[in-house]
Amino acid sequence: MEDISYYLEELEAKDDMLARTTNYLSQIQSSIIEKNLHLNELQKGISDSINFAKLIQTSLLPDVSILKVFFKDAAFKIFQKIGIGGDTVFIKNTNSGVVFCLLDASGHGVSGSMLSISGTLILNDIISSIEIDDPAVILKFLNYRLHQTFKNDKNSIANFDGTVFCYSSINNRLSYSSARGKGFLIDSRNDIISLENTKVSIGENLNSNFNTCNISFEKGNKLILFTDGLIDQFGGDHNKKYSTSRLKKLLSNNTGKTASELTEIISDEYLSWKGDGSQTDDVSFKVIEF
């Protein structure tokens, strides 16, 4: 049996231990609170910056009504992964008709948005400078300018996947050139035909050649362009990729819809497939009804 002084000393030591530990834990708590405040400030700064960048990027998007001058209906949707991103839509009047495309820049987020804006400006410059009615030539120019602007030989930072269309209202001719772009034509028999593409990105190789294809279309046919973010989105009951086959099935079940309706249907399907899961990539799609 210990004497009373032992227990008194033990009690004092326990009090001391409790006080020191409490003080230490309070210090940690204060430090965590301080770090959280700092992180919140940083997050707000980043969030404000991204919101403003989103406003800038959105304001640069073209007016889809330009396409409705030439075609029965047209609509597009863009879901950037973090509000801003690498997917973009381009539409520009030419002397003979209209040039339009859907582009997917390498990367997403801030870097993707910088590239997509730069790409759009370069494309606009090319089409404004010279009258080109061959989409493969437009891609060739864009490819060259990307190399020149971003010194792609050294870094290969600025690549785009996408399809450029040239429509001439003079001869009602529609042609396209695609660099890893994705798209379908729904014809009069409701067959879904994949658009041809070159398996090289724009900006990837200075010496790349692109092909021009002509599209024969009839009234009521639809053109559906989309970026890989749509078919690569994980989701559904088993967290699988949405896939091209599911998209084709959706389109074949909705062949009678207008371009605007079909855009909303694809949008709803995409959001439903993604559910509460995270967005895999930037996503965009465009539907044109002839």
Partner: protein, 147 residues
């Protein structure tokens, strides 16, 4: 006493602690036998180890604190800032510790060490290896594999 087929001689024992030594391993095991060791008794046993190191080689020191329920900061400060550096000069740099399986005790140790390092600097234990282990058996098993 025998630990994992290694024979340890009890070289010191009082109401609060037991010191055991194995010459082959050059290892001292200090076992806390009570929930609290008064600082005077604490210093007494550790000074004994210091003296013991003059006559016997100690390469490994195990402090088994599993019976302790009070982390006494002044004792620990002395143990870290005075005793360990002295024993380092005598060649003892490998320390093993076993804590009670009590999260609040581990937190108290963390708090105490944080205060000690703040006061004496983070390089206080430079050149001294401190390893936390779960049991003496686990440690001796490692020695067996190496040996």
């Amino acid at each position: 006493m025998v630990e994992n087929n290694y024979e340890f001689d009890v070289v010191y024992k009082d109401k609060y602690t037991t010191l055991s030594y194995n010459e082959e391993l050059s290892m001292v095991i200090c076992t806390a036998d009570s929930e609290y060791i008064p600082i005077g008794e604490f210093k007494k046993v550790f000074l004994y180890v210091s003296e013991f190191a003059n006559s016997s080689k100690i390469s490994y020191f195990v402090f088994d604190k599993r019976n302790l329920r009070t982390f006494h900061q002044p004792s620990m400060e002395w143990y870290f800032a005075i005793w360990k550096p002295i024993l380092k000069m005598k060649g003892l740099v490998n320390h093993y510790k076993i804590l009670p399986e009590l999260p609040w005790f581990s937190k108290a140790v963390e708090a105490g060490k944080h205060e000690i390092f703040q006061r004496y600097g983070n390089n206080l234990l430079d050149g001294i290896n401190i390893t936390y282990i779960n049991s003496i058996e686990e440690l001796l098993e490692k020695f067996r594999k190496v040996g």
